[in-house]
């Protein structure tokens, strides 16, 4: 009996494996069919080939990588190469025409624009400053925020709140949110953190559970366990950020020399892709605010 059972199991396994393999093969051929169909339908998809180079802001690394990967999936003959050397170096590189697109996580300077760089904003990065629910302070100024994070203001009574020490919470070194926050506030390497937490959720939890805590998180994950304070009297909403009145936000610029319409087909296709619904969904996916 046992032997028979063994043989039966063996046969069944063989069948299943063979079936699986043939199914895979089928799928593969179907895919190939799809590809050829696509090729005939949209000639430009297959035609578009060559190298597209990006260089610039390290803060835009996530967005640039996600976008270029998706772009390369769509246009298999295109190779997108992205380097992350800093905003100013990126704009310099595009002005020197060593790359096609220069990434900058700030508005272009007048001098850069004068040299022919065009500011194409592809996304906006926003950061909310959060405090625990029992905090009476709902509005702080840029200077106050700077002083709190530098450690010169240590008590909420100094900014109009109750007599309660401030617990300064932040992200770990290397985090993109921390980099962006310190850059926008111009407090790089001067912050006196008492808690360095390695996740956005962790910062929210710590601030929510600690009376007198202050922290910062990406705008898109806010919930009602904490209060997002107004900065310089401006509420942290998408509308305010798009209008440019909320100061803890910055544009993600993909600079080109000359307007997009003057660029090569490849560069034009890349911008078309980023501004398409698919591209803007990617922007949302990496936690950024889209531009309309």
């Amino acid at each position: 009996m046992k032997k028979f059972r063994g043989i039966a199991i063996l046969i069944i396994t063989c069948l299943v494996v063979a079936g699986g393999l043939s199914a895979c093969a089928k799928e593969g051929s179907e895919k190939a069919d799809n590809n050829t169909n696509k090729g005939t339908e949209q000639n430009d998809t297959a035609d578009l080939k060559g190298n597209l180079t990006l260089a610039g802001s390290t803060s835009m690394e996530k967005l640039a990588n996600v976008a270029s990967e998706a772009f390369m999936n769509k246009y298999p003959n295109v190779l997108v190469q992205a380097e992350f050397i800093g905003s100013s170096a990126g704009v310099e590189a595009v002005l020197a025409k060593t790359v096609d697109i220069g990434n900058a996580s700030r508005n272009l300077k007048e001098t850069e624009k004068a040299e022919g760089a065009v500011e194409n904003i592809v996304a906006i990065d926003g950061i909310a400053v959060i405090v625990d629910k029992n905090n009476t302070v709902t509005d702080i100024t840029k200077d106050q925020l700077t002083d709190i994070y530098k450690g010169t203001i240590k008590n909420w009574s100094e900014v109009g709140g109750s007599d309660q020490p401030i617990v300064v919470v932040g992200r770990e070194s290397g985090s993109g949110t921390r980099g962006a926050f310190e850059e926008m506030l111009e407090v790089e390497d001067q912050c006196a953190y008492s808690n360095e937490i390695n996740s956005t959720g962790g910062v929210m939890a710590k601030v929510a559970s600690t009376p007198g805590a202050i922290g910062y998180v990406s705008l898109d994950i806010l919930d009602d366990t904490v209060i997002a304070v107004n900065l310089d009297g401006v509420e942290p909403t998408e509308a305010n950020i798009k209008a440019g009145s909320y100061f803890l936000s910055r544009p993600f610029v993909m600079a080109t020399v000359g307007e997009i319409s003057e660029q090569s087909d490849l560069v034009q296709a890349f911008f078309e892709f980023i501004y398409s619904e698919e591209g803007q969904n990617l922007v949302k996916e990496v936690g950024l605010i889209t531009v309309e």
């Binding site: 009996m1 046992k2 032997k3 450690g151 240590k154 008590n155 020490p165 401030i166 617990v167 300064v168 919470v169 770990e172 070194s173 290397g174 985090s175 993109g176 980099g179 790089e188 390497d189 006196a192 953190y193 008492s194 808690n195 360095e196 937490i197 390695n198 939890a205 710590k206 559970s209 600690t210 009376p211 007198g212 805590a213």
Partner: protein, 312 residues
């Protein structure tokens, strides 16, 4: 019927082949562990040393500023190393007396009924995942510590408040976490002390407590030291729980400072680190690895010494 065919009660030939196959499997499994240890050691050394040449051993080990992403980066981990040493030492200082006393209780003085409650509780404590310790630390220990912190530093406005995420919280969590290790191994050591030592001591007129402290604990010394060393190993290697309660600031290990241990330094920054920063994190891993190796060597010495004493 056919079942009997595969039994080892068979001819000499089948018996022999079964023996050989089993021997081969055992050898292969044994070498799997050896292979793992060697490849991990090799990997740690290969990935941990480049940063030493890049930054300089002295700058890493004796630097006090940890700013890996500054314009002028510095990668000093002296405070991190000190925190690991001080934190572990304090955890041992708290955990070992409690652990050894519990072991004495279980091995000597406990009424059977009470032992039946304490023993499973200790075993359960060993099985709780470390993240649970961390969560309880956040929910119970940190708010409590924050209240103490506010009371202690009420008159010193220059103190940086940590919201209870400090060295004390981490030490308390570690002390609880090493308890099961210390208790179980000490208890085994105490129970292994030959009964006639105890009876001889009692017969000489010593009280039970005198016997415990003057005879049984000294006789079980090497086992208790083993327990302590294993506790040190557990404490220095723990990452998850203390990353949640220690605050993770790379500060000097003072009781109310937010501190960072060797383990949490690696865990908290690995995800986004790049280039030199990442390589230095591997070097921190290597330092931790060296610590663990030293502890193991000490442990081997202690166990060997224990055997010698027992032989005498």
């Amino acid at each position: 019927m056919s079942d009997r065919k595969f039994s080892i009660i068979g001819s000499y030939k089948t018996k022999n082949s079964v023996e050989r196959a089993a021997g081969f499997i055992f050898t292969a499994c044994a070498f799997f562990a050896v292979l793992a240890v060697f490849s991990i050691t090799l990997y740690m050394i290969i990935s941990g040393t480049p940063a030493i040449f890049e930054v300089g051993l002295r700058d890493i080990l004796f630097g006090t500023v940890w700013k890996p992403n500054a314009a002028d980066p510095s990668y000093g981990i002296l405070y991190v190393i000190l925190t690991s040493i001080v934190g572990t030492f304090l955890a041992i200082l708290i955990g070992v007396p409690i652990g050894v006393m519990t072991a004495v209780f279980l091995a000597e003085t406990a009424p059977k009924r009470l032992a039946a409650i304490v023993k499973p509780a200790v075993e359960l404590l060993a099985g709780i995942p470390s993240v649970i310790y961390g969560l309880l630390g956040i929910l119970i220990l940190n708010p409590f510590m924050y209240k103490i912190e506010m009371a202690v530093y009420a008159d010193s406005p220059n103190h940086q408040y940590t919201g209870g995420s400090n060295l004390i919280s981490a030490v308390l969590v570690l002390a609880i976490m090493i308890l099961p290790t210390v208790i179980n191994i000490s208890e085994a050591a105490l129970k292994a002390v030959p009964k006639h030592y105890k009876f001889a001591s009692l017969a000489m007129g010593a009280s039970h407590i005198q016997t415990i402290f003057k005879v049984i604990i000294p006789a079980a010394k090497s086992g208790i030291v083993t327990a302590v060393v294993l506790g040190v190993g557990r404490a220095i290697g723990e990452a998850m729980a203390i990353s949640l309660v220690a605050g993770n600031g790379a500060n000097f290990p003072l009781p109310f400072n937010s501190v960072r241990f060797l383990t949490t330094a690696v865990v908290s920054e690995m995800s986004y680190a790049a280039d030199t920063h990442k390589r230095v994190l591997f070097t921190i891993g290597l330092v931790l690895f060296a610590f663990i190796m030293i502890i193991n060597l000490v442990l081997n010495r202690v166990m060997k010494g224990g055997k010698k004493n027992a032989d005498k």
